[in-house]
């Protein structure tokens, strides 16, 4: 059993939790993920590691409520327990294997979309702590949905925010900001984009025009997360990769995003049915509060 030691709501539908999982905390690296299962009947939910504390033995996750399982998760409070919490899974971000001095010579920019800001956090933290100065673009639907802006600034990163509706900072897409920065003369060596598949697709499209190396983090449907089922397979270049063991980060210029987006939608109707059953009251957890 894995205890939730802290829970905070970061935005409407976005929650942060610190979970006691000492083994995971000890081995976690930026870029990796965990799989959580709330209770006996729950599904295995992959979530990126957003922070880890080896002293306290905790791992931070940030999730957005989308469907049945994440809604159920949002009902859990500090002091409650998840039955299962496995990780760290997947490969760590490539840069942690590079020479620090070489990294310091590079100009790196992160592009974070919505809840994708959370997985960007540990990467920025790791780099800033090694003395590597990075830039971050955060894109969100509106003011309320911007998360971790202050935390990223506190790490020393330069942060640009943009909102879809212009309710905060500036109006527009993350690609608008990135293009502007590049066109104004900043020469980036590496773009790391994490967010909705569609956002990563367009970031990669843009950076291809500028020939800037681009890393993206895929979040396909997963079951085991250990390379046993193949549910997470994605086409990268002319190869088939299992995102849970070969990824989740890949070269954004090689990923077949259209296929990945189609595959993501595979269980939409099935889970829609589950949601209907839940709303009809066949389910006990008092969920759906504030959800629309």
């Amino acid at each position: 059993m894995y205890k939730i030691v802290e829970k905070r709501q970061l935005a409407p539908q976005i929650y942060l939790m610190d979970v006691e999982a000492p083994r995971v905390a000890k081995s976690a690296k930026p870029g990796q993920f965990i799989i959580v299962k709330t209770d006996e009947k729950g599904e295995r939910i992959p979530l990126t590691i957003c922070d880890y504390d080896t002293v306290k033995g905790t791992v931070t996750i940030v999730f957005q409520t989308l469907g049945k399982s994440t809604l159920e998760m949002a009902d859990y409070q500090a002091g409650d327990y998840f039955t299962d919490f496995a990780g760290p899974l997947g490969e760590a971000s490539e840069f942690i294997f590079e020479e620090i001095e070489a990294l310091k010579q590079q100009k790196i920019i992160f592009v974070a979309g919505g809840v994708g800001t959370a997985p960007v956090y540990p990467q920025v933290k790791w780099l800033q702590q090694q003395g590597v100065q990075v830039d971050v673009i955060i894109g969100a639907r509106n003011r309320e949905m911007v998360i971790l802006e202050e935390e990223l600034k506190a790490l020393g990163a330069r942060v640009y925010v943009t909102t879809d509706d212009g309710s905060y900072s500036r109006k527009g897409l993350v690609t608008d900001v990135l293009k502007e920065l590049i066109d104004n003369g900043t020469r980036y060596d590496h773009v790391i984009a994490i967010g909705p598949m569609i956002m990563m697709k367009f970031v990669a499209k843009l950076t291809k025009e500028y020939a800037i190396k681009t890393t993206i983090s895929l979040n396909p449907i997963m079951v085991d997360g250990t390379g046993m089922c193949g549910a997470c397979r994605v086409s990268v270049g002319d190869e088939i990769k299992f995102a849970c063991v070969d990824g989740p980060e890949f070269d954004g210029h090689l990923v077949d995003f259209d296929e990945a987006m189609r595959r993501q939608a595979m269980y939409k109707t099935e889970e829609g049915r589950e949601m209907l059953a839940m709303e009809k009251g066949s389910h006990t957890g008092g969920c759906c509060g504030g959800h629309n």
Binding site: R23, P88, V223, I240, V245, E259, R263, E274
Partner: protein
């Protein structure tokens, strides 16, 4: 009396069982078991024993059954096997113990598997504990993976007084016994869980959600956590795909994914959250036990189900009993048929499976007749789901994170056949991780040999 026919075993009728996931085979009653046991000739030089990979003393346990001494029979089996209720159900008996039974030459072999199952079930229901652990000897062994290889190795070492911890990547122990083999062949709650509970009673600790190579490495177990030896029983879980066009379409699954959703995650039960998609018409590509399990599961989920296999029915690698059961349950066999492409609609969903007809050509060097394509035989099977059941290989997670652990070109861990010792000192391996996908009983046998070797190594080192 040896000429008497085998006592038939009761089964759920096919029409009924395709609507549920309950066990198909209902097993013998005491009377039936005694009657079947009485067919055994109690051979002096019993051929059956030689072909049981763990050498259960078959004539001895069967003669106890003859006299109705079931607890005694259970003890005889326990000397050789830790998982008799499992093996009695899933061993390929017809090619092992029963394949060599003297009665099989002219008539029907003794139903050794069914008798073993009866004895094991009876012992469990009557709470007979067949074994007791020796006092603790102060040595610690880590076992990676909780499939039959790991469970057996852990059980044997615990009996000898070792402090054993099993590390399992998934949330539930059992390996293929829980995620692969379906409920209707191997009940999880009554059989698998019970066997695992027995291990816990012997003092074996099981840590789930620990992925060795990720959560912690073998070197850390040995150097930081104080384990004196490690046994790797991590199986061969990595699924193969065909590499044909359309294979990443929505509606194409590996058998592992399909079975894991259903067995481990219990997608077939309303109250569990994990979804499963079966569609209306399913093609299962492959002809082994895994393919039969996937097909019979798809049939139970309500789909018209086809097995698509490129050789002829005689070459099907699956057990005869499974093929027979699948047919009874309405699974359609399209043999001498090979898929060449998966057809996909504009939204990325499967609409059909393009296939060619095959015929068996001249025998190759190994004597096996190679299937060759029949000219102009291309056709399309209209299906909305394709399940690939083409075999699996060991996952590189452990080999890639353990310095100096030798593997072969099939990714299998290289280990000594008699002891399981790998290229690394104090690190042993066995089961599918070493042999590639094989059988439950072979994995158990490997776990047993490694336990003995680990014991010898640790006892001689101090």
């Amino acid at each position: 009396m040896s000429k008497a026919a085998r006592v038939p075993v009761r089964e759920q009728c096919p029409k009924q069982r395709v609507t549920n996931f309950d066990e198909v085979c209902l097993g013998y009653s005491l009377e039936e078991a005694v009657a079947e046991a009485n067919r055994c000739l109690n051979c002096k030089n019993a051929k059956c024993v030689g072909d049981c990979p763990v050498a259960i003393n078959i004539p001895e346990f069967v003669s106890h059954v003859k006299k109705g001494e079931i607890a005694e029979a259970a003890k005889v089996i326990a000397q050789a096997s830790a998982l008799p209720a499992v093996c009695g159900r899933v061993c390929p008996q017809e090619t092992q113990c029963e394949g060599k039974c003297i009665l099989g030459i002219k008539g029907e072999a003794v139903a050794i598997g069914k008798l073993e199952r009866f004895v094991a079930d009876w012992a469990r229901e009557n709470q007979i504990t067949a074994a007791e652990a020796a006092p603790k000897n102060g040595k610690k062994v880590a076992v990676i993976g909780s499939g039959p290889a790991g469970l057996t190795c852990a059980g044997d070492l615990a009996l000898k007084g070792y402090e054993v911890t099993i590390f399992e990547a998934l949330h539930e122990p059992g390996g293929v016994l829980v995620y692969g083999i379906p409920e209707f062949r191997l009940p999880k709650e009554t059989v698998v869980k019970a066997e695992i509970e027995n291990l816990k009673k012997l003092g074996v600790a099981i840590e789930t959600n620990v992925v060795i190579g990720k959560t912690v490495t073998i070197d850390e177990l040995l150097n930081e956590e104080g384990f004196d030896a490690v046994f790797i029983g991590s199986g061969a879980g990595l699924p193969k795909f065909m590499g044909i066009a359309g294979e990443n379409a929505n509606g194409v699954f590996s058998a592992n994914e399909f079975l894991t959703r259903n067995n481990l995650m219990k997608a077939f039960k309303e109250e569990y959250s994990t979804p499963i998609k079966v569609g209306k018409k399913v093609a299962v590509v492959g002809g082994g036990n895994v393919a039969m399990d996937a097909a019979r599961t798809a049939a139970r989920l309500g789909a018209e189900t086809h097995i698509v296999y490129r050789r002829s029915e005689a070459e099907l690698p699956a057990r005869v009993e499974e093929v027979h059961h699948a047919k009874e349950e309405g699974v359609i066999f399209d043999v001498l048929t090979n898929p060449t492409e998966i057809l996909v609609d504009e939204k990325g969903w499967v609409t059909g499976l393009k296939c060619v007809k095959m015929e068996l050509g001249e025998p190759d060097a190994g004597g096996r007749r190679k299937p060759v394509v029949v000219a102009d035989s291309e056709f399309v099977m209209e299906v909305d789901t394709v399940i690939m059941s083409l075999g699996t290989s060991p996952n590189p997670l452990i080999s890639s994170t353990t310095q100096g652990l030798e593997i072969n070109k099939w990714q299998c861990i290289v280990a000594d056949e008699e002891t399981g010792l790998t290229s690394r000192e104090r690190v042993y391996a066995g089961g599918d991780a070493v042999t590639g996908a094989a059988t439950v009983i072979l994995a158990m046998g490997a776990g047993k040999k490694a336990a003995a070797a680990i014991d010898e190594m640790l006892m001689s080192s101090k």
